[in-house]
Symmetry: C2
Subunit: 325 residues, 2 copies
C-alpha cells in the first residue's frame, strides 16, 4: 500500500468537498473570503485523522467524510480568529483574512465557518450524532480556553512549563483528539477503541504543537510558510523559551527573563534566543518530548486491531512529526 498516494487522494477528496460544501456566493462580502479560506490548502491533518480513525475501527472512510470536512472547517475558523488576535499578516503563504479584507470581515467569516462546520458535521449518518456533536463542541470550548490562556501568558512575566503544556493541550491537543474520537464514533468503534484513538490524537496534537514551536526557531522559512521567530516576536511563551529558562544561568538567564517580560522580541533578540536554546539543551529537550509523546501515541494505536488503516496511522504519525516545515 502506498500510504503517501492514499494520503494525497484523501486530501484531494477533502479539498473538493470543502469547496462544494459552501455552495453559495451571496452575500459576497461573506462568501468570497469564506471560499478564499477553504481554498487555502493546508495539510488537512485533522480531516485525514477523522477518516483514518473511522477506518481503523472497521468502517469505510467515506462514512466519516462529512465529519472530517466539518473538523477541517472548524480548524479554519480558529485560524481566522486567532490570526486577528495574533496580528498575523500571512498564513500558508497568503495574506490572512483580516489583512486582505479587514478585522470586522474576519470576525464574521470565522463565525460563518463555525456554523458551516456544524452544518456539515450534522450530515453525518450515525445513531451517535449527539455524542459526535458534543465532542465537536467540547473541542471548540477547549480551543477558546487555550487561546485565552495563550493571550494571558503573553501578558504575564512568568509561566511554568506545566501551564504551557495545559495551554497547548487545550489549544491544539483537544482538537486533534476530537478528530480521532469523532472518527471512531462515526465508525461505530467500541468504547475502548474510541478512548484509544482519542488519547492517540491528544498526544499527537501536543507533539505537533511543540514541533511547531521548534520549527519557529530552527525551521526553513519557505517550507514553514511563516517567518521564523514570529512566536518570539509576538511575545509568545513557547516551550523552548520556558524550558531554556529552567536551565539558563547568569547573563543568559537575565536575557531570557527580559525577553519574557518585554513581550515582543526584535530579530536580533530572536538570534540570541536561538543560541541560548541550543546551549541550554532546550532544542534537544523539545525533540525528546516530541519523541516521547509520539511513542506513547503509537502505544495507544497498538491497542487497536491490526488493519491497513492502523498501519497508515503509524505512517501518518511519522510523516507529520518528521516534517521540516
Amino acid at each position: 500500500m502506498d500510504f503517501q498516494q492514499r494520503y494525497l487522494e484523501y486530501k484531494e477528496r477533502v479539498d473538493r468537498y470543502l469547496l462544494e460544501a459552501v455552495g453559495q456566493t451571496r452575500p459576497r462580502s461573506l462568501y468570497k473570503p469564506v471560499t478564499y479560506v477553504l481554498a487555502g490548502g493546508g495539510k488537512r491533518i485533522r480531516s485525514i485523522l477523522v477518516l483514518l480513525a473511522c477506518e481503523a475501527v472497521g468502517a469505510p472512510a467515506e462514512r466519516a467524510l462529512h465529519a472530517g470536512a466539518g473538523i477541517e472547517i472548524l480548524h479554519n475558523f480558529t485560524l481566522v480568529h486567532d490570526d486577528i488576535m495574533d496580528n498575523a499578516p500571512s498564513r500558508r503563504g497568503r495574506p490572512t483574512v483580516h489583512t486582505k479584507w479587514d478585522e470586522h470581515t474576519a470576525i464574521l467569516v470565522g463565525d460563518e465557518l463555525l456554523a458551516l462546520a456544524y452544518r456539515i458535521l450534522l450530515r453525518t449518518e450515525s445513531s451517535r450524532i449527539r455524542d459526535i456533536a458534543a465532542v465537536f463542541t467540547e473541542g471548540v470550548v477547549e480551543v477558546c480556553e487555550g487561546q485565552a490562556y495563550d493571550k494571558e501568558f503573553e501578558r504575564r512575566a512568568s509561566v511554568s512549563v506545566e501551564e504551557y503544556l495545559l495551554m497547548i493541550r487545550k489549544k491544539t491537543g483537544m482538537m486533534v483528539a476530537a478528530a480521532t474520537e469523532i472518527g471512531a464514533l462515526v465508525g461505530g468503534g467500541t468504547e475502548a477503541e474510541v478512548q484509544a484513538l482519542k488519547s492517540y490524537g491528544e498526544l499527537v496534537g501536543r507533539a505537533f504543537q511543540i514541533q511547531d514551536d521548534l520549527l519557529d526557531v530552527v525551521g526553513d522559512e519557505k517550507k514553514f510558510g511563516k517567518s521564523i521567530g514570529s512566536d518570539l516576536r509576538e511575545g509568545k511563551k513557547t516551550f523552548l523559551l520556558l524550558d531554556a529558562l529552567r536551565v539558563a544561568r547568569g547573563k543568559d538567564r537575565q536575557f531570557l527573563k527580559k525577553v519574557l517580560s518585554n513581550g515582543r522580541a526584535t530579530k536580533a533578540v530572536v538570534r540570541e534566543c536561538r543560541r541560548i536554546f541550543h546551549e541550554t539543551g532546550a532544542i534537544d529537550a523539545a525533540g525528546r518530548r516530541i519523541e516521547a509523546d509520539i511513542a506513547e501515541a503509537k502505544g495507544h494505536l497498538q491497542n487497536l486491531k491490526p488493519s491497513e488503516a492502523r498501519d497508515m496511522l503509524f505512517w501518518f504519525t511519522d510523516m507529520l512529526l518528521n516534517r521540516q516545515y
Copy 2:
C-alpha cells in the same frame, strides 16, 4: 392565568440557568466577560418563545429549558460580535465587551458563547436532536449572512426596501423562527405545528426588527437602553429611511439621498430625518407593516390546538410589539 407573572417566572428560570451553565471561572480573561454577558439581563424573548412553543404543542416547558437557554446564549454571541462590528459603546445600559475589555477579548468571548450555546442545546432530551441542532445551525448561518448584508448596505448608496427586508429576515427573523421551531421540535409537535410555529416566529422577528428601527427614531432613550438615532449615526439603512426615500420629493429627497451616501449622520441630521419620516408617512408605514406582520403571525397560532400556552403566546406577541422600549 396571570401571563405577566408567568413570563417573569420563566425569565428568572432562564436567567438562573444561564449563570449556572457556565460553571467555570478559568481562564479568567475568558469567563469573566462571558459571565458578564450572561448576567446582563435582557428580555429573554427567544428563550421564552422556545419554552412557550414547546408547551403549545403539548409538552412541559421544562423539557425545552436547555434549548431555550442555548438559543439565548446564541443570541448573546451575535450581540457581542455585532457590537464590535457596529462600534457600539453600550448595550442594555452597560459597556459592551469590546469597550469594557478589548476587541480581541470580545472576539474570543463571542466564540466561547457560541460553543456554550451548542453545549447546552445538546443536553436536550429528544429523538430529533439532529433536526434541532440543524435548525439551530441554520439560524447561525442566517444571522451571519444577515450581518454581512447589513454591513454591505452601510457601504452602498442605494438599497431597496425588499433588500432591507431580506436582510432583517436573516438577521433577526430566522433566529426567532429557530426559537419557535426548536421549541415545537423539542415538544414533539406534528409537522404542521412545527411549521406554524416557525412561520409565527419569523413574522414576529421581522415585526420586532422594524419596531426596533422605529424606536431608534421615536423611542424613549432611557427605556430603549441605547441612544436615539444611533442607527442613522452608524450609517445603517433602516426601514424608515428606505421607505421615506420612496415617497420623498424635492429637497427632502436630496437630503435623504445625501444621508444614504454619506454614511454616518450627525445629531442635527437625525433630527431632520425624523421630521421627514413623519411627513412622508414612513413612521405610519412602519407601524402598519408591524401590525400586518403581527396579524399574520397570530393567524399561524390559530392553526394550533387551543391551550393556555397558545393564549400566552398571543399575549406575549402583544406585549412585545406594544413596548415603548
